[in-house]
Each structure stands twice: as structure tokens, then as C-alpha cells.
Symmetry: C2
Subunit: 429 residues, 2 copies
């Protein structure tokens, strides 16, 4: 059979992994694909470095990938505008595309999928979410019989590494971040990862597939991990929870919740056991119930694993897209979301404070499911007098109700510092 002729755009870490994997497993891949996967050309604006490209040509001209001698363009240059342009041009010219670029999918997913469909060519993006974990395939195919109810993932390895280091070593955020940077798990500018933007890109894609909806990146509520303290990690542990940075999309009667934020999850849940840079995505469907999909979320070879699996699918002529259009589900604002909460209230160590907090929450219809209160010494910067943090776990409540209840508690004269609140999800089963 005719080989599948592949052009790779980019020559960074992942591209290096793809090139290596295509060579290393050539025989296995050809058997599974039904024909050889032939790397014809690699294009990168930066120089070739020392990478062995096998028999493939190298060029610094990205446009050289568009032509009849390339069946499928693998977009691994990253960034947004140039990458999107490359993908568009390939699809318009009838070339299939495989990309690991979550940003362009999150922003232009509707357009790019429509274009691929109109042209009748494959658009693979297994590598765009959770690296080597085959979660895109699971949503597209293995779980396709379900009405998905919830998708919740640890999809940013950097944030998970930092939270794991904080929980296990009692490190502060800045310290754990520095450690992640030293290990090469975090960029010099870590905002993209630790402020949740990367996770929001991935959630946009997960939600689009899970709910067969349009890509609505600008509607995703996004909160990072930089305000998580060792104190909160300790209290969470005492209450039987861990803190993870989750990307959550949930179907409700009113619309779809789509939110990225630090989250308390039960210590006994599988998500709590996902440590270091690993990723995991929890999917609950109406028929299948709860499922979990775990693996390496980044790195040259895990990401290459996903890219090459898409190449195999394209070589076999498999459909890489749903045959029909996406639906414009309404995405709820964060105020409309429903969640349980962990709340830490720095308050004076005086009689009746807890009772007054509880009464305020009660007036808002918020039930208390658990609490920690103990007397302890004055802490630095907390003003005069002895004070204690009141720590409360609530039942599920509408976010805007919680916000107004906490605003009222914050105004209590006995409350001596800013209230910390972290959402809670019980993803068990």
C-alpha cells in the first residue's frame, strides 16, 4: 500500500519525539496503520539541530509543507496565529492535520473542525489534552454512547507538580514553583500554567467533545493555584481531602458549567492519588457511570504517542471527527455554578463567633458538613488579641449565594483577615 506521507511543522521537544517514534517503531506502526508512515519533510523556522530525520528533507520554509507530496501536516510549532494559519491552509488544500496545539483548538475549534468536515479530511488532536492519555479518543469513540454528565481533569502537570510538592513536603507555593522550574516542569514565566490558562484551553476542548458543543474558551472561569497556602493544604488533609487543580465541565438543567480552579477532592478518591506531573481525566456518563483516564500529560514521548496514534487513524482511513455539527450549549457564569465549599475564616478567639458564622450561613440556606476550630496563639500580622481560623466545609450551594453569605461574614467585627474559600468536588465511584 501507498505510504502515508507526513510533513512535520516545528522541531521542538514534541516534534523530536514524533520523529524519533516514527523511526523507532516503524515496523509496528506500519502493521497497525496498514501502510508505512513515511516522514517526508520537516519544516522549522529554527535550525535543524542534531536531530536525525531519517530520510526526511529539512526546510526552514513552513509553506513547503503544503503540496501534493504531503498527505498530512503535523502542526507542532505552537503559538496561535501562525499555527492556526498553517492548519487552515493545510485543511483548505485537502491535507489532513494532526496538532498538539490546545490554544488554537480552544479559540478556533469550531472553524477548524467545520473546515476539516467540509474538506472531508481528518483533524486529529489527541495530543492537545492530557498528552499521552487517550481521552479524546475515549470521548469521541469509547464513551460515545453516553450523555456525558461531568468531565473533571487534572490536565496541567506543572500545577499538579507544585500542589503535590506543597502537600508532600510542606513547601510554600513559591518554593514549590522554583523546584518545578529547576526540574524543567515549569517555564520561566509560569503564568500560562499556574494561572490556569493552559487548563482552560484543555477544558474548552474536553467540554466541546463531551457535550458535542461549540468551543467557548472565553466562557471558561479560570483561577490558578498561586493563592493556595500550606495552611489550607493542612486543613484539607485534616478534613480528609487533598487540593488539586481541576478543570471541570458539568451538564446542568440550566446550562454547562465550565470552570478551572483549585479544588478539594476526597483523599480516598483516585484523583487525589494523581501525583507529580501526571494527568487524569474523570468522565461520568449516564450509562457508563464514572471512569478515569490517567497518564503522562506532557513530555516528548507521551505527547508523540498521541500524535502518532492520530497518524495511524488517518492512515487507516478512520473518521477522526463526528460527522455532524456542534451545538451551542449555554455556558453558565461562575455565579450560577453549584458547588460545595471549604472556607477558612480568620477570627477572634472569642465566644459565639462560630455560632454567628453558622447563623449567617444558615440564613443563606447553606448547611455545614464539617468544621475545625481550635484555639491557638496569636499569629504574626493578625493584629491584637488571640485569634483562630474557623474552617468550614459546606454542602452544595449556588456560588452567588456563597459569595453574598461570605461578604456578610467578612464584615463581622470578629473576622480579622481575608476569608479564603476553595471549591469542593466529590468525584468518587
Amino acid at each position: 500500500m501507498e505510504p502515508l506521507k507526513i510533513g512535520v511543522a516545528g522541531l521542538g521537544t514534541v516534534a523530536g519525539g514524533v520523529v524519533a517514534l516514527l523511526q523507532r517503531n516503524a515496523e509496528t506502526l506500519a502493521r497497525k496503520a496498514g501502510r508505512p508512515l513515511a516522514l517526508v519533510r520537516v519544516a522549522s523556522r529554527s535550525p535543524k539541530r542534531g536531530i536525525d530525520l531519517g530520510g526526511a528533507a529539512f526546510t526552514t520554509d513552513l509553506d513547503a509543507l503544503h503540496g501534493p507530496d504531503i498527505d498530512v501536516v503535523v502542526e507542532l510549532i505552537g503559538g496561535e496565529q501562525r499555527a492556526a494559519q498553517l492548519v487552515r491552509r493545510a485543511l483548505q488544500g485537502g491535507q489532513a492535520v494532526v496538532t498538539a496545539n490546545k490554544a488554537i483548538l480552544a479559540r478556533y475549534g469550531d472553524e477548524l473542525l467545520s473546515l476539516a468536515r467540509a474538506q472531508g479530511v481528518g483533524l486529529g488532536f489527541e495530543a492537545a489534552v492530557a498528552g499521552g492519555v487517550p481521552i479524546i479518543g475515549a470521548l469521541r469513540q469509547g464513551l460515545a454512547a453516553n450523555r456525558v454528565l461531568t468531565v473533571a481533569g487534572i490536565v496541567n502537570g506543572t500545577s499538579n507538580y507544585i500542589l503535590t510538592a506543597m502537600a508532600e513536603q510542606g513547601a510554600a507555593f513559591a518554593e514549590a514553583l522554583a523546584q518545578a522550574q529547576a526540574q524543567g516542569f515549569a517555564e520561566a514565566d509560569p503564568a500560562y500554567d499556574v494561572e490556569g490558562i493552559d487548563a482552560a484551553h484543555k477544558l474548552t476542548i474536553l467540554a466541546a467533545l463531551a457535550f458535542d458543543m461549540s468551543f467557548q474558551f472565553d466562557k471558561v472561569y479560570t483561577e490558578g493555584i498561586s493563592r493556595i497556602t500550606e495552611e489550607d493544604l493542612d486543613y484539607a488533609k485534616e478534613l480528609g481531602y487533598r487540593i488539586k487543580h481541576l478543570a471541570i465541565a458539568r451538564r446542568t438543567e440550566q446550562g454547562v458549567e465550565a470552570r478551572v480552579h483549585p479544588t478539594l477532592v476526597p483523599q480516598r478518591s483516585l484523583l487525589a492519588g494523581v501525583g507529580g506531573v501526571m494527568n487524569a481525566v474523570w468522565v461520568e456518563g449516564d450509562a457508563v457511570g464514572a471512569t478515569l483516564h490517567y497518564g503522562a500529560g506532557a513530555g516528548a514521548m507521551p505527547t508523540a504517542s498521541a500524535v502518532v496514534s492520530d497518524l495511524i487513524a488517518i492512515a487507516r482511513g478512520g473518521a477522526l471527527d463526528y460527522p455532524v455539527g456542534r451545538r451551542p450549549h449555554k455556558v453558565l457564569s461562575i455565579e450560577q455554578a453549584t458547588c460545595a465549599y471549604y472556607v477558612r475564616i480568620p477570627s477572634l478567639d472569642a465566644p459565639g463567633v462560630f455560632a454567628e458564622v453558622a447563623a449567617t450561613l444558615g440564613r443563606h440556606g447553606i448547611s455545614i458538613e464539617g468544621a475545625i476550630q481550635r484555639h491557638r496563639a496569636v499569629r504574626s500580622g493578625a493584629g491584637s488579641g488571640s485569634w483562630v481560623p474557623i474552617v468550614i466545609l459546606t454542602a452544595s450551594v449556588r456560588e452567588q449565594t456563597m459569595t453574598s453569605a461570605l461578604a456578610q461574614v467578612q464584615r463581622m467585627p470578629q473576622v480579622v483577615g481575608g476569608i479564603a474559600s476553595i471549591r469542593v468536588e466529590h468525584l468518587m465511584g
Copy 2:
């Protein structure tokens, strides 16, 4: 577009789930499949019961499913001979097949896949392993770029329920089994589940897909959970492990290991956290590293989720099979397997016994990684004198070396009872 015309054979629990799911999610399914999934006929030798078949016809004649008005036959009658015959006849007549029947795949997988390939029709069996967990799709597609190194699964819910109950409630095997039977998680004759036959069927399928090899059910080493004691669960816990019933296939230089047996896994591993009737499959690939795939392994709706996902793939014209033939990898005998071991040796509470055991193991080149030894009172039935169990964790060793070392230890006069040994796997990452 033309609907996909479906005939279902069988009307048990899973068939009921499939029929219900096709009705409940009809609109979603049609959108994902690109055309309606139309249930045309249900055939079962037992009467119809009260199941709502929608517009589908009912017949007690299984042969009525073979004909031009049925595109795909869903085999859910179970058993072996009649089911295999039904699948063969469907494929021979150019009908696609979806089956949840692990036994016929384990025994006739090579023949049935060849037949499907020769006829150019799909043969879907996502439901045959780990119920709703899309592990077949992951091996076929999402992880296809990898040379798989290890597959290890908790694939029998009954055994996992019993081991979980024993560990959490301190129940004895018989007690936990009775509990599983009372809850409907175990059959009146539980041998198929607790002796590991069901898991061995599933492992045969996993190994065939993971290593692109022939189905070699008769080569799978199979050991059940009935000899696991509360004592072993307790010692395992003390050493930082849980005992799970695993189905393991591993690629080695010498051949493929394929074995089903109780296994100590580290308490911190994700597999240790898989409780109750849930299933999980661990897959390690050369590119992706470690992955885990978790969900409900049985039940009407989870299994129906898998069956219907195969129907969607068939409706979309997706390839459900590798396009090329399988390879006859050599399966190693259990004596040739390599594993770490937990060993419990009932011995007299006398000086020097531990040292002599250690020396015997050492002469066989077996390293000790951990041990528990404490003095305690005589136990009933253990003969005269005071005795203690010596509990040892070893490093990895060839099984036949372990067997001969333990035979020698067993002959020591200070050893007062049968030695228990359980294999250990460190599936972390």
C-alpha cells in the same frame, strides 16, 4: 442517511441495557453515528419478559437475525458454542458483529477476527473486557503508537469486591463471598469469577491487542483468590501493600508472560485504590509510559455503553479491526516468569530460624527487600511449641528459582506449616 439496522441476540441484563440505551439516547446516538441506530429485531430463546423493545420485532428464533434486513448482529446470549456459531454465521454472511462475549474471543479470537477481516466487516468487542472502560479502543487506537510493555488489570469485579471487603472489614474469604452473593455481585457458582477463569479470558484479549499476538487462552497461568487469608491482607498492609487480583501480560526478551493471580501492589499505587466491583487496566507503553483506565467492569448500563459505542463506530464506517494479521508470540510458562514475592513461613519461635531462611534464599540468589518477624502465642492447630510467621518480601526472581528455594525452606524442621507465597508487582508511575 440509511439507519444502521441492528439485531440483538439475547435478552438478559446486558441486552436489556442495550435496548434501553438505544431508546433513551436515540437522538444523541444518531448525531454521533451520523445516522439513526435502528433496533430491528431481538431474538432470544427465553421469553420476552416485560422489556419495552420500542418498534423492534421479537422472535425466539436466533437464526432470524441473519438476513439482509440486519446490518449488525449484537451477540449477548453468552455461553460458548451457540454464541460462536451465531457470530461465525453473521460474519460469513457479511453482517458486522458486536459482542460482549469474552469466552468466545479468548477461544476463537484468531478465527473470528480473520473471518471479519476476510469479509471486510466490523467485529466490535469493547464490552468484552472491563465493561464500560474503553480499554479495547485505547489499545486499538489511542495507544497504538506504542510498543506495549505491560498490561495489568483488575478485570473481575466479583474478586475485587471480595478482596476489598476482606481488607476493609477484616472479613474471611467465605464471608466476603457470601456478602457478594447476597448483593448480586457473585453467582451461586462463583468459580468462574473467583478462580480467575473470567479474568484469564479477558487477559487473553488484552494481550492479543496489546502485543498484536494470537489469542492463547490455554497458555494463561490462572490462580484465584480463595486461598487469600485475612492474615496475609494484614501483613501486606503492614508492609505498605494491598492484595488485588490482577491479570498481567508482560513483554520480555524471552516471550510474553500471561498470568492471573492475587498480587501485592503498593498501597500508594492507583490500582490499590480501585475498590468494590470497579475495574481498572494499567497499560505501559514504550512512548506513553504508564496509563490507567478505570470504570465499571460490569452491569447492564456500563456494558451497554461499550456495546453501543461499537455500534456507533460501525455506523460511521470506522475500522474496528487492525488491517493485518496477528503474530504468534511465545507465551512463557509460569516457571519462566519473573516476579517479586511476598512469602509467609510459619516457623518455630527459635533462635536462628530467620537467618537460616535468609541463607537459603541467598544461596538461590534471592534478595530480601523487607521482612516482618515478631514473637507471638501458639496458634490453634500449629502443633506444640511457640511459633511465629516469618514474613518476607523479596526482590524480583525467576519463579522456578523461587519455587525451588521455597521447597528447601519448607523442608526445614523449624518450619511448622505450609508456606504461603503471593506475587508482588510495583505498578507505579
